[in-house]
Structures are given as C-alpha cells and as structure tokens.
C-alpha cells in the first residue's frame, strides 16, 4: 500500500493547489473583514447620531427635585400645615428578588401590617420590575435605626427620605385645610407629563383649592448615573421653586373656641369679619384627622369614618345645608321693605294661627295665642311667623326668590373650597324642574319662615348676615388671606372682588338691624340663652328647622341619627352691634331650639373674638398630632 501512495503524492501539484486555496481563503478573509468594517461603519458613522443619543440618555438622567410644599398659616402666622422629614421603605423588585426570600426577614425588623403587604403584593404583580414600590409609607425612627444596621441583607430595599405633610392641629382644621394624598391615576392625568414627579397633591380643602400654587414647581438635576442608577455627580441643575405659603384668615384661637363651644353637639358654624368677608373660624363637626390621609388611609380607619352616621368627612358648610328656618326672617323683612310692600312701621296682627284666605289649613305662630300687633322690629325679635306668612303671600314666590338670591341664597358664597353647594331658594320654577309638581300657595307661606323647599348653608347665612352688619355689602367669603411666593418675598393679599349691595336704602337695613339687636334683649328670642350680661351690643336671630316632628319623649341619641333626619337649631348674629367686627352663623344638629343651643355657641365665639375669652374646658388640648389617633373621635 504505502509505496503506491507515495507515488500518487505530487508535491508540485499540492503546492499549487494550496496556493489557490490560500488565495481564495485570503480573498474570503478580506471580504469578511471588509464586511465587518462596513457594518461598523454603518453603526458608527451612518447611524452615529441615534446611538450617541442613546448613550447620552444612558449617561445622563433627569432627576426631578421636588419642591417643598407651601406652608399654610393662620392669620397670626401660626403653622397649620407644614412639612417634616420622614422615611419610607421602597422596594425595587428587580433587585430585591421574590418577596418570599426577604419579606419574612424584613418583618422582623420593620413592623408591616397585612394591608401594607397586600398593597405591595398587588403592585409587585402588576408594576414594572425596575420601578420602586413603596412598601411602608412611614417608617418610625426606631425602625429606621434597626433597618440601617441590617440594610446589607436586603438588596433592593431602600429607606427613602422625603418631606411628609403634617397637620399639627389634626381634626381642628380638617374641613378647612383638607389634606394631601398620594397621586393616583386621575391626578397623574391632571398633572400632566411635566409634573408627573409629584408624589402628593391636595385632595381636599385649601390643599386642593390652592394646590397649583402650594405645590411649587419641580426642579431638575441632570445626574450622571451608572447602570445601577447610582448617581455619580450632578451635571446641571434647574432648582425647584418652593410652593407658595398661604396665610389664612382663620384665627387658631377662635377656631378652638368655636369647637369648644359646640361641646358634644354635631353641626357647623362659621365666623366672618363682615368688613372683609374673611372667614375667621369655620367648623364642621364631627371632624377627622387629615394626617391619616397623607400616605393613604388604612381600610379600617376609612371604614370607621364612612360608617359613622354623623359623617365626619362631610363638610357641612360647603356640601351640606338645610332649611334655615326663622334665620331668614331678617332678610325676608328687608325684602318687604325694599320691595315697597311694607314700611318698618307697618303692623300685622298675630293671632296664633294664620290662614290663607279661602283655605282651612292653619299656619301657627310660636305663641299659641299670638304676638298681637307686630311691626318689623318685633317680628324679628320675637320671631313672629304671621308677619312673614303674610309678607311672603303678598310678595309672591317669584319676587320672594328674586330677593333671596340678591342676599346670596341659592348662590355660591365664593369660598375658596371645591364643590360648594348653592343651596335652594324655593320657587315655582325650582319645584317644576326638580319635583315636576305645581306650586301651592301654602308653600309660599312657609317659605316666608325658611321652611319647605329651602336649603341654605351656614356659609350663605353668615354671608348675608355680614352684609347686614356691613351696611349692605355682600362680600365674597374667603379663607386665604395672603400669599408669599418664597421665603424672602413679601406677603401679598389675595385680590377680592368688589362687594355687591343687598339694599339701596340704609334706613331699611337699619330697621332690620334694630330688630336683630332686640332679639338679644329682654323679650327677644335669644335674650335668655345668649343676651344676658352682654358686655357689648349684639344682634342676632334664632331659627329652628324641623325635619321630622318629634313626638312624645322618645329620646334619640343625636349622634346616631342620620343627618337627613336631624333637625337643626340655627343662630345668626353679629357684634358689636354698632360697629360689627364679627358675624357668625351656627347650625346645631338636633340642638333643640335655636335659642337654647346655637345662640350660646355664637355668643361664646363672639366673646372669644371681642373679649379674647379662651375656652375653659381643655377641649382641644391635644391638638398635636399622634399617628395612632383614631379618625373622627377628636372634637
């Protein structure tokens, strides 16, 4: 075999064959390397711009810098809402791995309730893996310390410092200030792309109404980041603009006095400076702790708030309202004068029962035997129904409604809170539209004493009362008094619209005012409850709006009755009567007659404002915030 093979091997032929193949190989190598070089040319030269952009996007990240939210202060500069440093616990799923691996360990260090974990699991299932999820919105200082020691055991779990909104007075101002809450889908849509970095927005109250100026403007840092997102240095910076500070017209002491004056009652009250329309104090009771909402309220706390029949979350001043009862009489009386139907001296005979000519049904006075001959002043001081039955009947419901709208009933007061209720002024038109029923004359009669289809809020009543107190100037009610855009900037007043006039005749207003002053004097409906020993002249009017008649001596716990069934004791008034500095409207739910419960509350508020009297009871001593405070308990 072997020799034969030797013969077949031809060195020259093999060498030339090799050269052909080597040349072919070299050509292929040139082509392949040339192709590779061409591909790199495409990437590096032709497509350079796109890749350079991506490389820059990798390198530089725009990191939003959240501005500090504006402070909310009372009229004397006391803090009602501020920001305090706090920590939350964030988890980045891609770094942390499956929760089963670290969650049990973590729970030994940081207290986590089932709700936090359920929320986290939900977000973990649905969210992006590289975006941090908040596991616990507020970590207590001891937990921060414990976690800091063990943090190396929990990759992807991070303590994130942030500024937490705090309401140091808790429930005291909940219905005024409202609260901020975590941004939800809807908020994100409203905020838009540029402001999507905000974590919290105002959800209620002043926080919501003025959210656009309170939240400030987001700043940006251009940060060089490595692949783990660790910042390696700041390249550029657009500073955040802190939110505008807002000074309210609310007086913290007066607010406390007002809450204290309510004692155990539910209801609402507003105190206004009639000269400006500034709201000095405003309560809706019961209240709630707005701090609970800042980082998401727990389901149990929320259920406790919503299942309470007294509805702590319901702002009675803005959203509520009911028949104003006899508190409308001064205004109906003024309408009688201004419409020319009555002079202040015109008298009507009160017999205890009023009949519409040709009808059998009787409309009663509060005195079974009547008040006798009654002029305007007496009709107010003694709350004589017959005077107003007759006046409303003479006026007719259309003119009546027109006059009531002029005094601000059925209209928004313009208060700087979202969702204000206009209330209802009874009219044939309203009834047709909403009840699809014709108007009956009897309904005109009872409209005259603030009953029937009436719906008025304490805000509307106090505004109209202020107009009487300030020579007919009907002003926009407002809470925000001044703003400061930055710590160095001067305080600037919020501009207010010019007032409207409720009457062109000062003598008419004067007559009504005299009637209201007589209310507080012997013989007047509020003398015994609030008018005795007055160190300053006061004017007022009581009212009672009965929603269901109380039969017998069935005692009902007023806090357990649904709002719609509660009757209201009203009082409106102002003081000092000769030069008013405060006007008040009080609505007490299930508060008996207006004279007995609402009037003393108004008197206590006025005493606090005019005499500087502080409440004696330690009613709102604990208005510093504690987080285990259960909602809706603190009054």
């Amino acid at each position: 075999m072997r020799p034969r093979r030797r013969q077949l091997k031809s060195p020259a032929a093999e060498a030339s064959q090799f050269r052909r193949r080597a040349l072919l190989g070299f050509v292929l190598v040139v082509l392949a390397l040339g192709g590779l070089g061409g591909w790199y040319y495409k990437l590096q030269v032709l497509d350079h711009a796109a890749y350079a952009l991506q490389s820059e996007a990798n390198r530089l990240k725009l990191r939003p810098v959240l501005p500090g939210r504006g402070l909310i202060l009372d009229r004397k500069g006391r803090v009602l809402a501020d920001n305090v440093p706090a920590y939350r616990l964030d988890v980045t799923p891609i770094d942390a791995g499956p929760p089963a691996d670290w969650l049990p360990e973590l729970r030994r260090i940081v207290a986590l309730d089932e709700e936090d974990i359920a929320d986290f699991q939900e977000a973990h299932r649905t969210g992006a893996r590289f975006r941090p999820i908040t596991l616990k919105p507020r970590v207590e200082p001891e937990e921060v310390a414990r976690f800091a020691v063990d943090r190396w055991r929990f990759p992807g779990v991070e303590l994130v410092p942030y500024l937490n909104r705090r309401y140091p007075h808790g429930p005291l101002l909940a219905h005024i200030i409202g609260y901020v809450g975590r941004v939800d889908e809807e908020d994100l849509k409203a905020l838009g792309e540029a402001d999507s970095a905000f974590t919290h927005v105002g959800k209620a109250g002043i926080e919501r109404y003025y959210d656009d100026i309170l939240r400030g403007r987001i700043g940006y840092e251009q940060v060089e980041t490595n692949v783990e997102g660790r910042s390696l240095g700041t390249v550029g910076r657009v500073p955040a603009v802190p939110g505008t500070d807002i000074k309210l017209s609310i007086d913290l002491d007066l607010q406390r006095a007002m809450v204290a004056a309510f004692g155990d009652f539910d209801g609402s009250a507003v105190a206004v400076d009639p000269r400006t329309g500034e709201i000095l104090a405003m309560v809706s009771l019961p209240s709630y702790d707005p701090n609970l909402f800042v980082n998401g309220i727990s389901h149990t706390a929320y259920r406790a708030l919503t299942s309470n029949p007294s509805r702590p979350l319901f702002n009675r001043n803005v959203l509520g309202g009911g028949p104003p009862g006899s508190t409308v009489k001064p205004f109906v009386g003024l309408a009688g004068l201004d419409s020319g139907l009555r002079t202040p001296q015109d008298k009507v005979l009160s017999t205890g029962e009023f009949h519409i000519p040709g009808q059998r049904r009787g409309y009663r006075d509060s005195h079974a035997h009547g008040h006798g001959w009654t002029d305007l002043r007496k009709s107010i001081a003694e709350s004589v129904n017959t005077y107003y039955y007759q006046l409303a009947l003479d006026m007719g419901i259309e003119a009546f409604a027109k006059w009531m709208h002029r005094y601000g009933f059925g209209e928004r007061t313009g208060i700087d809170l979202v969702g204000e209720n206009t209330g209802i002024v009874p009219s044939a038109e309203w009834k047709r539209a909403h009840r699809r029923e014709p108007w009956y004359t009897g309904e005109t009669v009872i409209a005259g004493i603030g009953q029937g289809f009436w719906k008025a809020t304490a805000l509307q009543l106090v505004r109209a009362t202020s107009a009487l107190a300030d020579e007919g100037a009907l002003r926009r009610l407002h809470l925000a008094r001044e703003r400061r855009d930055g710590y160095e900037a001067p305080w600037r007043a919020f501009p207010q619209p010019a007032p409207e006039r409720i009457s062109d005749n000062p003598a008419h207003i004067q007559a009504v005012r005299e009637g209201m002053e007589m209310t507080m004097q012997p013989g007047g409906t509020a003398w015994y409850a609030a008018g005795r020993d007055l160190p300053y002249p006061m004017a007022g009017k009581t009212g009672t709006a009965q929603k269901v008649s109380r039969r017998g001596a069935v005692s009902v716990d007023p806090h357990q009755l649904p709002l719609a069934l509660r009757h209201q004791a009203w009082f409106i008034g102002y003081a000092p009567a000769d030069a008013p500095t405060i006007a008040v409207a009080v609505a007490v739910e299930h508060g008996g007659f207006g004279s007995s419960t609402a009037a003393p509350i108004a008197r206590a508020v006025m005493d606090a404002w005019i005499l500087g009297k502080r409440p004696q009871a330690p009613a709102v001593e604990d208005d510093t915030v504690s987080f285990d405070n259960v909602a809706g308990q603190v009054r």
Partner: protein, 370 residues
C-alpha cells in the same frame, strides 16, 4: 567593548533569528492597543494591565520557543502531542470548574483551559494526517480527518463550551479546506448543518444557548434581560462615531452599561473610545496577520508546514469575525474573545504559541520536501 557589543548583537540576532519581524510588529501593535483599551475598560487601573502584560510575556516566550522548533521535529511529535492534549480534556470533565460548565482546571497559580491546547494540536494533527496522504484527500481520508476533528470537539461540547468547540472545528476545517477538500464536502456540510439545526435546538442546546440565539434574532424582545448586552454594546459602538469619544472617555463602559467590557466586549470599548478609525486600524492589523500567515504558508516547502501555518492564520480570522460580529449584533452571542485584545490568559497564550509555529514554518524551511 566593541567586541562585546558585537558579540551581544550577534547573540541577539541568533536568538531572534527565527522570529518574523513583520508578524511580530503587527502582534505587538495589537497587544499595545489591547493594553491601552484594557487600561481604560478596567477603570484606569494598572492591575489588569500588569496581569495581562504578564500573560503576553508568557505567550511571547511560548512564541519564541516554538519558533525555534524545526518543523520536522514538530511534525514527528504531532500524534503524541494530539493524544496528550486529549488527556486534560477528559480530565476537565471530571474535575473542571466554570460558570456555565466545566471549562477550567484549577492549577493553583492560574486556571488552565485544556480546550485551548487543541487549537494548536488539532490543526497539527489534521495537517500531519492529511500530509501523509495524497491530496486532494480521498473520501476515506476525509472521513478519518473528520474523526480527528470530531473527538476533541465532542469532548469540548460536553463541557459544554460552544465557542471554543466552534473555533477548534474551524481550525480543523481550514486544514481540510487548504488541503483541497472537494467543494461537494462543503455543500454537504452546509446541508447537514441545516438539517441538524432543528435537532440541535431540541436536544443539544442548553437553555442559555437558545436564549442567546433568540436574543440575536430579536434583541428588543427583552431589552432589560438577555437583549441588554447587545443593545448596550451596539450603543457603545455606534456612539463612538468616526473618531471616538477619546481614550478613557467611553461612558458606556465606565458607567457599567456595557457588560463584560474587559473580556468579550472589549472591542466595543475600543469602538466607543477610538471610533471607526480605531476599528479600521485594528481590523487592518488582523488582516495583515492573517495575510502574512497565509503568505508564509504558501512559501513553505512541505505540505505539513503549509497546512498548519495556513490554518492557524485563518483560525485567527474566525475569532475576529465571530467576536466582532457578536458584539455588534451581526451574529449570536458566543463566548469568543477578540484575539490579543480581550482580557484573559489562555487564549492569548495559545494564539501567540500558534504564531510561534507559523514563524517556525518561515524559519525552518527544509531543503527538500517529502
């Protein structure tokens, strides 16, 4: 004094006589570029550079030593060397370590990758065998040659190390190609590959290998997972532009966006920092090395030397095309380093040793062939 200098000069000349200065210059240029890029990619630390420099020194020593071995001695020792290098290949399957399999043997001082040796001994064996037969090879001879290639390849695939197996197969296949293998074989190989691909997909490939192929086909399908490497690598390359961001200025590697930027993806660092110009220079150097090897092979007087030198040169080209294609998204991800640029010892040493053999071919031309 003069005499001493002359004596020293002559000694150096005698010692370095066997080196091919053209190849040496090109290789030195590549190594210098490699160290420069490594310095930048390694976070401007000299630790990696010194370690790699030591490997280059070791590799160069091997190159020098092998260049001094006359080719007929090498040829005579070939069958023994081939069989001997199969032993650690078997051993590694028993005691090996590695990330995705058993690739390395821990020798205490360094990790030794037995498969690297085959990059040298397999083409030697193939060349030895084919040279002992009349060429172009007959059917039976081709079958035996394929057997010679198949045994170590199968062992390497068992580790499993697809990248090295491919390089080893390639170096053997180049010997067959240069030996004048009939085109029918290449057609049959292509056909067989196409037929075997589905089978390989279902039985042979590991999940991570399948991921790599899927990712290659569509890197955007999982931009944060498997596709990340290629996307970031392409960004690095593309962002380099014509002239590059400058030495040490490559943000993709310095900010860790680029994975494995001192090893498999170092060419992307070079592309980012030195741009297409740098790429063109390096590719030209590789082309020169391959061309020079083929030239030396063509000049050789015996079949064994020809086949060996030619296949070693072409094998280097495979590294370049596979690595350069992989990091730029042109080919699927395969663990193949960029020759003389990627950080890592064994491949640099085995490559330089191969170049030493090529230089030996140039230096030891027998007066007469077989």
């Amino acid at each position: 004094m003069n005499a001493i200098l002359r004596w020293l000069f002559e000694l150096a000349a005698r010692l370095l006589r066997t080196l091919d200065w053209q190849l040496c210059l090109a290789l030195a240029a590549l190594m210098a570029i490699g160290l420069a890029v490594l310095y930048s990619a390694g976070g401007e630390s000299t630790t990696l550079v010194l370690a790699q420099g030591a490997r280059y020194a070791l590799g160069f020593a091997a190159l020098w030593a092998l260049s001094r071995v006359p080719t007929h001695r090498l040829r005579n020792a070939t069958p023994a060397a081939y069989v001997l290098t199969l032993v650690p290949l078997l051993l590694v399957l028993a005691i090996g370590t590695g990330r995705h399999g058993k690739h390395w043997i821990d020798l205490g001082v360094f990790y030794f990758q037995p498969a690297e040796l085959l990059k040298l001994t397999l083409p030697m064996m193939a060349a030895w065998y084919l040279n002992s037969e009349p060429l172009p090879p007959r059917f039976r001879v081709v079958l035996v040659a394929l057997g010679i290639i198949f045994v170590p390849t199968a062992l390497i695939l068992l580790q499993p190390d697809f990248g090295t197996a491919m390089l080893v197969v390639a170096s053997g296949a180049f010997v067959l190609f240069l030996a004048g293998l009939s085109w029918w074989w290449f057609a049959a190989a292509l056909g067989g590959l196409a037929a075997a691909a589905p089978a390989a997909w279902f039985w042979l490939l590991k999940p991570y290998q399948k991921d790599r192929i899927l990712t290659f086909l569509d890197p955007e399908s999982d931009p944060l997972g498997a596709g990340w490497n290629i996307i970031q690598s392409k960004i690095a390359i593309g962002a380099g532009g014509l002239t590059g961001k400058g030495w040490g200025e490559g943000s993709q590697s310095h900010l860790d966006y680029l994975p494995e930027h001192t090893t498999d993806f170092i060419f992307a660092v070079l592309s980012e920092e030195f741009g297409w110009m740098g790429v063109a220079v390096v590719l030209s150097l590789y082309l020169f090395v391959v061309g020079r090897c083929l030239w030396i092979a063509a000049e050789a007087r015996d079949g064994y030397s020809r086949l060996l030198a030619g296949s070693l040169g072409l094998a280097l080209f495979v590294y370049v095309i596979v690595n350069g294609g992989m990091i730029s998204g042109l080919l699927p991800v395969v663990g193949v380093p960029m020759p003389l640029l990627s950080y890592g010892g064994t491949s640099a040493v085995s490559l330089l040793a191969g170049m030493g053999v090529v230089m030996a071919v140039r230096a030891h031309k027998p007066m007469h062939g077989h």
